[in-house]
């Protein structure tokens, strides 16, 4: 479904991504793990059309989206939940969700709004509250719900468990599992590697902008040198 081939990006002298490649097949949960500064956010941002790419090809469902604008990529069915959530803090929960569905028709949008209210009771309770007043966990749910408002077939998440208490992390991974059972494809950048590997089908390990390991989640979990490759020992 999503194919990234040979992605390279430089910021001035810094090589943020070096020939990074990955594939995500329909209906999979794929994890992207690795230490801080590895380029995971740059990778997602490049796929989503926000960051410039120096070389490489990205295809989504056979369509070349390498240099497409973010709105075109969203309309193709690929949504991104950005790092740090980036919810619109001066707008209410409802308004945030509506913006998420800006590409839809009014009726479709209304339908999805109702769906989200059911799926996220916590948000339903704070429907008219300004998003800036939400707690970390609520904000993360809002960010995911907002991305779901465009009814994407594939959804990318950048560090969804960042700054969340363990019980909320559970919630997030529950959501990810639900997404898969609803037929959606999920690519998740996560810092919580062990947790990610337990939830994912496959995973890639990114370090200093390059893919240094990949395989099924089980395979990677069994590797004893995982901690080392993370912590740079």
């Amino acid at each position: 479904m999503l194919e990234v081939a040979g992605l390279t990006t430089k910021y001035g002298a810094i090589s943020a991504l070096r020939d990074a490649s990955l594939t995500v097949s329909d209906g999979e949960i794929v994890g992207l793990i690795g230490p801080n500064g590895a380029g995971k956010t740059t990778l997602l941002g490049s796929i989503a059309g926000l960051l410039p790419i120096d070389s490489g090809v990205i295809t989504f469902d056979g369509e070349d989206i390498t240099s497409a604008a973010p709105d075109k990529i969203l309309r193709a069915g690929l949504a991104l939940v950005p790092e740090h959530r980036r919810i619109f803090v001066d707008m209410t929960v409802e308004e945030n969700l509506k913006v998420g569905g800006v590409t839809l028709s009014r009726t479709d949008r209304q339908e999805l709004l109702t769906e989200m209210a059911e799926l996220f009771p916590v948000l339903r309770d704070k429907w008219d509250t300004a998003a800036g007043y939400l707690s970390g966990g609520e904000a993360q749910q809002l960010a995911i719900a907002r991305a779901l408002m465009s009814n994407p077939r594939a959804i990318m998440m950048d560090e969804p468990s960042l700054g969340l208490a363990p019980i909320l992390v559970d919630l997030v991974f529950d959501l990810i599992a639900t997404l898969k059972s609803n037929g959606r494809t999920v690519l998740v950048v996560e810092q919580n590697a062990t947790r990610m590997l337990k939830a994912a089908d496959r995973a890639y390990v990114l370090r200093s902008g390059a893919v240094v390991a990949s395989g099924t989640a089980t395979e990677l979990l069994e590797r004893s040198d995982l901690f080392d490759s993370f912590a740079g020992g």
Partner: protein, 295 residues
């Protein structure tokens, strides 16, 4: 007491126009992070068209839509020709670009029309007053306040209740994330300039009526009032812009009424002294939005 009430209404009358101008400037600032020093040209250009129209037998009924439409079109045209090419540039560059555009337009009119003042007839009811007890209220002020209230209400509805408004607010809040939601950069920027032009157009109707004339430099004063009002209210706040405009108008009128006759013509100077004092004690403006520094 009656004098005060009269002054307040007069002040609100002026302040309403400043509020509309300020809101137009603030809408563009929210998205582009640029104070549009060419905003006044959105009155100059319709002003000259108005002069031409009256010379060709138009009347105020037909001129009013002309002003609004030409303001919107001018705003979009300027965005297309100049601002679209400096998107993402430094604040310095964008400010100078807008200043350059202001200059091109005013110098253009100087060059191709004339330096002389072009008179514009005022509507018949302009000088009418409404007598209420011992008060003599100018109808013009009431009309301005009324129309502004309606336009502000309409703009509020637009921003709060329509998808267009939501998209604008989202883009002003976080431009990149708004793009991630599927909002197109071009569309939302043009939308902001169109809205800004509309607001300038409404303000322009009354500005032109009140001035009764147009000159190549007609745009300087409205632009300055709009930009100052935005600062007074607090950069980054739409409500602040409206409040700033009203405060500016009130300050102007009330100050003039309180100053001794001999120095009344220095009112503008004193208004600026007040503004300066405001900035010393409340540097961010009345409704300042705390700007968080990104480390």
């Amino acid at each position: 007491m009656e004098g005060l009430l009269q002054n307040v209404i007069d002040g609100l009358g002026r302040g309403s126009i400043y509020a509309l101008l300020a809101l137009g400037v603030a809408v563009v600032f929210g998205i582009m992070h640029m104070l549009n020093f060419a905003h006044g040209e959105l009155i100059t250009i319709p002003g000259y068209l108005t002069y031409w129209a009256f010379n060709n037998g138009w009347n105020w009924f037909t001129v009013i839509p002309l002003i609004v439409v030409s303001a919107v079109l001018s705003s979009l045209l300027i965005e297309r020709i100049a601002f679209s090419r400096v998107r993402g540039a430094t604040d310095f560059t964008m400010l100078l670009t807008s200043f350059g555009v202001h200059f091109i337009v005013s110098a253009g009119f100087l060059l191709y029309v004339s330096a002389s003042v072009k008179p514009i007839p005022r509507p018949g009811w302009f000088a009418n007053t409404l007598a209420m007890g011992s008060l003599n209220i100018e109808i013009f002020d009431l009309v301005v306040i009324g129309v502004t209230a309606v336009v502000l209400a309409g703009t509020t509805w637009l921003l709060q209740r329509t998808m267009f408004g939501l998209a604008l607010r989202a883009a002003a809040s976080d431009f990149d994330t708004a793009r991630l939601m599927g909002i197109k950069s071009d569309s939302v920027i043009r939308g902001a300039f169109a809205l800004s032009g509309f607001l300038a157009g409404i303000a322009g109707i009354f500005w032109i009526m009140r001035e009764g004339q147009v000159t190549p430099t007609a745009g300087i004063n409205p632009m300055l009032q709009g930009v100052l009002a935005v600062l007074i209210g607090g950069l980054g706040s739409l409500r602040g812009a409206v409040l700033g405009g009203l405060v500016l108008g009130l300050a102007e009128v009330l100050l003039r009424s309180w100053l001794p006759l001999s120095i009344q013509n220095l009112t503008t100077g004193f208004v600026f002294v007040l503004i300066a004092l405001l900035f010393i004690f409340r540097p961010g403006g009345l409704l300042s939005v705390p700007q968080v520094e990104r480390v």
